[in-house]
């Protein structure tokens, strides 16, 4: 069954210059137990999509979608209270900078205990405090922190960024969520800790069947740990499909450029030779090009590109381009 099924999600912001469409008809679906990567550069709206799923966007953003189903239930038609209840029960999110999202004035123990819901503690009420503490320690062990005593008594600023991120993960998995959204979980971390964290997320995915939506701007780190991939550019979904298939044969010029710009995916590239790069830079939201937003930077843009391409499907591979890279379109 599809866990999350979003069709044509549009997120708009009302500004003085009129409506700015930050996310333009993005489709996203997640099966149970799937790990999906969401890749895009800064300003491509990937964090907005994540926040829209969790429902923490500011009132100023207008969210609309043709379909927004969570386990078969239409979320947008539900009353707000009920939405919160479902999201609070099933979806957890970890944010970019752990030391900034933890409460600086409280011990880790307090914060971690707060994240454990009552219904997961089976015991009489007078034992609750004890059980809660036991559970908190167990959670720390699960995320690979052995020295629980000193960590529980510390404040976030006393711990390293990697440990803070692990605590965030511990808090997120405290309620056994169905879906874990990780919004750039590793940007602040070093490469050895990064690998550790990705392995941790992968193991929860395999052991508990928890779905993971991994958001990042680094294609190379994400590609290793995900089964499927969605690529965003400027709020438009440019390509989606299985990770291996996309890496092997990207259809969209942007994905192609993204893959080619990473030396790791180019084993034959000699050191010190120039990397492949698209000219220009990402347009700002106030001055978006019409039609395909990659248009002005695209190497094979033509007249038709001023019309927004529709999402085409080739088996399990979706792309939105008038001129996909592998020869001609299927008739």
């Amino acid at each position: 069954m599809l866990l999350l099924d979003i069709k044509n999600l549009t997120i708009e912001l009302n500004t003085a210059d009129g409506l700015v469409r930050a996310v333009d008809r993005v489709n996203l679906s997640l099966r149970e137990g799937e790990t999906r990567g969401l890749v895009g550069e800064s300003g491509s709206g990937k964090s907005l999509v994540a926040k829209a799923i969790v429902g923490v966007l500011n009132k100023r953003w207008q969210i609309s979608a043709d379909r927004f189903n969570w386990r078969g239930q239409d979320m947008l038609s539900l009353p707000y209270e009920q939405q919160r209840k479902i999201i609070g029960r099933d979806i957890a999110m970890i944010y970019q900078e752990p030391s900034r999202s933890l409460d600086p004035t409280a011990h880790i123990l307090e914060q971690l205990e707060e994240a454990i819901p009552d219904h997961l503690l089976d015991g009489p009420w007078w034992k609750r405090g004890y059980l809660r503490r036991r559970k908190a320690i167990g959670l720390l062990h699960k995320v690979g922190i052995r020295d629980h005593q000193s960590v529980l008594q510390s404040y976030p600023f006393q711990l390293s960024e990697g440990v803070c991120q692990k605590i965030m993960i511990a808090m997120a998995i405290a309620k056994n969520p169905k879906l874990l959204i990780a919004d750039e979980p590793t940007t602040a971390l070093e490469s050895t800790t990064q690998a550790q964290l990705f392995r941790l997320l992968a193991s929860f995915n395999q052991l508990k069947g928890m779905s993971v939506l991994l958001i990042s701007h680094e294609l190379e780190s994400i590609a290793r740990y995900t089964q499927s991939l969605s690529v965003l550019y400027c709020g438009q979904l440019v390509e989606a499909g299985e990770t291996a298939a996309i890496l092997k044969q990207p259809y969209h010029p942007y994905t192609h450029a993204l893959i080619k710009s990473v030396p790791e995916f180019q084993p034959n590239l000699q050191p010190k030779t120039p990397l492949y790069a698209l000219p220009g830079s990402i347009p700002v939201l106030q001055h978006l090009p019409i039609g395909c937003r990659l248009g002005p930077r695209c190497p094979n843009a033509r007249k038709e590109c001023v019309k927004t391409p529709t999402l085409e499907r080739l088996q399990n591979h979706f792309y939105s381009c008038h001129f996909p890279l592998t020869g001609a379109k299927e008739p």
Partner: protein
């Protein structure tokens, strides 16, 4: 190819207060030696607290070394003498947007650099600014822009312009490529490689990004808790790292 920078047995320790009267010394750098040829790139990798940034500070002269010698063009130097050496060693910070003055136009900022560090007159300075902007793929009218009017990639170019306007021999990049988006990073990497080929500039790249190091660095120095673990040609170190720590670091990026 001549040796541009030669660092011999560099040591640096900091004193930290750990009680009312007690002090603890932290050995930030312990006996570091390396050399850098003209037109080559040396990458320094290591985790936080490994002494990478201390090394950068010593090389631009913000801090003085406790022991050891720094040789620039085979002469021993005191890099703290900015007037003499800021022409030769320039530094680029991690976040271009935060390291530029938001109240100053780009042209003004570049002009200040020349005014304080060279004996050029007004017309020569103007010409030099134009020439540098052009070299970095920016336009003349960009000198009338304020930093907030640029996009991320262009800001990095502006930061590069500020560093390169004095025609340095060595450019130190402290995590300058890490925060950029992949497609912008590719652009900046290409620009750096092109500059190196055209002008024989040497880079000291301080970074965590090992995949990039593999592509653009000639030599690699692995630091761990102030000690140099592995030092040698990048390809060689990647193949035959001697220490467990460097192997772990390399495997985490490559595997």
């Amino acid at each position: 190819m001549s040796t541009l920078l030669d660092v011999q047995q560099l040591c640096k320790s900091y004193r930290k207060q750990s009680g009312l009267f007690r002090y603890r010394t932290v050995q930030a750098l312990d006996n570091i030696s390396f050399s850098l040829q003209q037109g080559k790139t040396l990458a320094v990798v290591g985790e936080t607290g490994s002494g990478k940034s201390t090394l950068a500070k010593l090389l631009v002269g913000i801090e003085k070394p406790d022991q050891g010698r720094i040789l620039l063009d085979n002469t021993e130097v005191q890099l703290g003498h900015y007037r003499q050496y800021n022409h030769q060693v320039r530094f680029i910070f991690q976040d271009a947007a935060k390291s530029l003055n938001p109240q100053q136009k780009i042209g003004q900022m570049l002009d200040d650099v020349l005014r304080f560090s060279t004996a050029m007159d007004v017309t020569a300075r103007k010409q030099k600014i134009q020439q540098t902007l052009k070299q970095l793929g920016l336009l003349d009218e960009h000198s009338e822009y304020y930093p907030h009017m640029f996009s991320g990639g262009q800001l990095q170019r502006v930061a590069l312009a500020r560093a390169l306007i004095l025609d340095p021999k060595l450019l130190i990049l402290d995590e300058a490529l890490t925060a950029l988006d992949p497609s912008l990073r590719a652009q900046i990497v290409n620009l750096l490689l092109e500059l190196q080929q055209n002008t024989g500039l040497a880079y000291l790249l301080i970074t965590n990004h090992l995949r990039l190091v593999k592509h653009i660095a000639d030599d690699l120095l692995v630091l761990h808790q102030g000690k140099a673990l592995d030092y040698g040609e990048t390809a060689y170190v990647f193949e035959h790292a001697e220490h467990d720590y460097s192997r772990k670091l390399i495997n985490s990026a490559i595997a």
